[in-house]
């Protein structure tokens, strides 16, 4: 009984269950992370994954990833994942936690993310004492972008933006985020740990677990700052970078607990969960009859719609309303719709334009780069967007004639003095609805009842509704008259 084969083993330490078995990233590399050899992010990931495993919370954890080298947390953690805009993870985490109070929400951030662009978010989130966990990985530099100085860069530390080393006189002093946050009343637990040697790594793992556990217990805001090696940007071997954490970084950022009220903090009552969708109109005080009917005047089945429209003009010409009525009518007809306004800071006389899409299928992007129909309410708008219209598309232009140098042979053009036509109907401001009437006739896709319903929902004044309905009719008639062959 002495053969080697007879020895039995059990796993003492192995891959955490909170990680995906394979990472859905570049084909060849799905069995490993994207991190550099020796990067501290990987170690922190493992600590967090282990904490999730040990606390048995994988099915209710939401991880909010940052911008920075750790932007891809969603490749690795088999939990709910959201990737926030740069610095905004604590704000996004706040929303997640408040709308899903049973979830365990972890914001993961680098030092550039948290202490530079996101300094306001972390400050206010901590000050509100949100019941979330923040993992703050401090490598004293912007790594993903190639090594610019961060607020946390050490005095004398070289970076691409401090080539002679950071100087207090010009760049100020390293920002001690954990100490700053520990001056606030609300946080429950703040500790700075490091990945400089085995003992520090063990302590970091414990702290991260506790910061997550505090949330599970409902205690409030916990943040763990981890001093973490970045061998690549620091231009060191992995082992030297680890030593630098322990021998250099730690002098500027002393380790230890900065706040610990874990023992005294009483679990907070869970905030009420977000209201169900059906309750929102009542909360907003919207009366039943004012609700969009949605699918009220459904399209003929089987009709395939894919309408991409760009509407442009000066502010005040009704550009956005035209787009809204079109999109709202699409909603009413049971289509997928998007409406994306784009305007300058000026309220009047500035240019404005909007993108509208109506489709029988889900819409991938609300941007309309190559419209099938362009509504140009003045000449500058025409000149700006004319070239972008798809070959075979339409331009509806508010002007006596199409400018000669704009003529494109591959477009249909309806040019008419719409402002004047509207004036004849009673108010020059109704020109947008005449143009919409022509557009609807070209698109031929929407039931009249849907347009009617949309208009009544968006335009409150009955005198205007009446005028706009006449304007729509005028537009339809104009198109039929100018392009009899389009009808049908």
């Amino acid at each position: 009984m002495s053969s080697e084969a007879a020895i039995e083993y059990e796993v003492a330490q192995g891959r955490a269950k909170a990680f995906y078995p394979r990472f859905e990233r570049k084909d060849e590399l799905q069995h490993q992370t994207h991190y550099c050899p020796g990067c501290g992010h990987g170690i922190v990931h493992k600590m967090l994954a282990r904490a999730i495993d040990e606390l048995g919370i994988q099915d209710r954890t939401i991880l909010v990833g940052p911008v920075g080298c750790s932007v891809f947390t969603y490749y690795y953690f088999e939990v709910g994942n959201v990737q926030a805009a740069h610095g905004r993870a604590p704000a996004v985490a706040t929303a997640m936690k408040r709308s899903r109070p049973q979830s365990v929400v972890v914001a993961y951030q680098g030092d550039g993310d948290l202490s530079a662009i996101g300094s306001a978010e972390i400050l206010h989130t901590a000050n509100r004492g949100e019941n979330i966990t923040v993992i703050f990985v401090n490598n004293a530099i912007y790594s993903m972008t190639g090594g610019q100085a961060a607020p946390t860069t050490l005095l004398g530390q070289k970076s691409t933006t401090t080539p002679d080393g950071r100087s207090a006189a010009t760049e100020g002093y390293p920002l001690h985020m954990s100490e700053l946050l520990a001056t606030l009343e609300a946080p429950v637990y703040i500790e700075r740990v490091a990945l400089g040697d085995n003992k520090q790594i063990a302590q970091a793992g414990k702290a991260i677990r506790r910061a997550v556990q505090n949330q599970v217990r409902g205690l409030g805001f916990s943040l763990i700052e981890v001093l973490s090696p970045c061998p690549t940007i620091w231009k060191m071997s992995a082992v030297d970078a680890q030593r630098w954490v322990r021998e250099v970084m730690e002098k500027t950022f002393p380790l230890g607990v900065l706040r610990d009220r874990t023992k005294d903090a009483a679990p907070k009552a869970l905030p009420p969960a977000a209201p169900a969708l059906e309750e929102i109109p009542r909360i907003l005080g919207v009366a039943e009859q004012d609700l969009p009917a949605g699918n009220a005047h459904a399209m003929e089945p089987g009709r395939d719609v894919d309408l991409e429209v760009r509407i442009a003009g000066f502010g005040g010409q009704g550009v956005l309303l035209l787009g809204e009525v079109l999109a709202e009518a699409g909603l009413d007809a049971g289509l997928e719709v998007s409406w994306l306004p784009s305007y300058g800071p000026e309220m009047r006389s500035g240019t404005s334009n909007c993108h509208v899409r109506l489709s029988s299928r889900p819409i991938d992007s609300p941007l309309v780069a190559a419209p099938g129909i362009l509504v140009a309410m003045n000449e500058p708008s025409l000149r700006k967007f004319d070239h972008s219209v798809r070959a075979g598309g339409w331009v509806i232009y508010n002007g006596e004639a199409f400018p000669e140098d704009c003529v494109r042979q591959d477009l249909h053009v309806l040019a008419a003095p719409f402002t004047q036509l509207a004036d004849e109907l009673g108010d020059a401001r109704a020109s947008n609805m005449i143009m919409l009437g022509a557009l609807l006739e070209i698109a031929g896709a929407l039931p009249g009842a849907s347009v009617d319903a949309a208009l009544r929902r968006l335009v409150k004044n009955s005198r205007w509704v009446e005028l706009d309905l006449r304007a729509l009719e005028r537009g339809r008639a104009l198109l039929k008259h100018s392009f009899p062959e389009v009808i049908g």
């Binding site: 007879a6 083993y9 003492a12 330490q13 192995g14 992995a238």
Partner: protein, 94 residues
């Protein structure tokens, strides 16, 4: 004592394709039971490998390693023989 004590208490399983050869586990291992391979893996890294003896299954290398599953630390299962009460048979793992 039975033969079990002559073996290491632990053993390492290293995924040669996941390991990036950073060397942190080699630095971390208290009994220095890990070394860098001579040869290169598919990606051109010299990877960690078990030096052949000395693992205590402490698991320290696992936490020092940045990759989720490059290292698995195995611990020898020590079986208690049926009828432990019988003196002299305290351990019979192999």
């Amino acid at each position: 004592m039975t033969e079990a004590t002559k073996h290491d208490r632990g053993q390492l399983r290293i995924d040669r394709d996941e390991c990036k050869g950073c060397g942190l586990c080699i630095e971390a291992c208290p009994p220095k039971a890990i070394r860098l391979s001579e040869g290169l893996n598919h990606y051109g890294y010299r990877t960690a490998e078990y030096a052949g003896a000395g693992c205590t299954a402490c698991g320290i290398c696992f936490m020092a390693c940045p990759e989720p599953g490059a290292i698995t630390v195995l611990r020898v299962i020590v079986h208690r023989a049926v009828g432990v009460a019988a003196e002299g048979i305290s351990c019979a793992s192999n």
